[in-house]
Point group: C2
Chain length 100, copies 2
């Protein structure tokens, strides 16, 4: 096997991170509310520690939980990562690229 | 600054990979068809080289290009990564996890 590309490594990482947190309790294919909070406060602490509003993670969970089962499946988790990536990308573009 | 987490590194990588390929020609915020093909054949060669059907990348591009402008913006690109990640995750789950 040759060395994985950056994109392949990224896909593997997203799966591994999801499984790490989803596997902490109960259904190991879904993030419970507690697992979601642990994930956010561990992996995205730079984002969460700047939030003054204590309800922001509750509202994020509700918004991401498209089927309202109180848990996040892998697709719902990817929507979170995608949303954050788009926000970072847009903020970067405003400062640097995409002048037409 | 502390060391980025796995998730932060992943978000940065996705942005960097998109910008690398989108910046090759024309609009540097969108992947042209040529840039998409270069991306697929470079970063996801393990996937593309196993495709017997030469039309598969054309059809993927059409399906991903939600606003039909003939290019992929960052959100459309993330849908590709998300789709591949979900497919890998499901294949992994069938073999290993999620027995209830």
């Amino acid at each position: 096997m040759s060395r994985p590309t950056e994109t392949e490594r990224c896909i593997e990482s997203l799966i591994a991170v999801f499984q790490k947190y989803a596997g902490k309790e109960g259904d190991n294919c879904r993030l419970s509310k507690t697992e979601f909070l642990t994930f956010m406060n561990t992996e995205l602490a730079a984002f969460t520690k700047n939030q003054k509003d204590p309800g922001v993670l509750d509202r994020m969970m509700k918004k991401l939980d498209l089927n309202s089962d109180g848990q996040l499946d892998f697709q719902e988790f990817l929507n979170l990562i995608g949303g954050l990536a788009v926000a970072c990308h847009e903020s970067f573009m405003r400062s640097a690229c995409c002048q037409k």
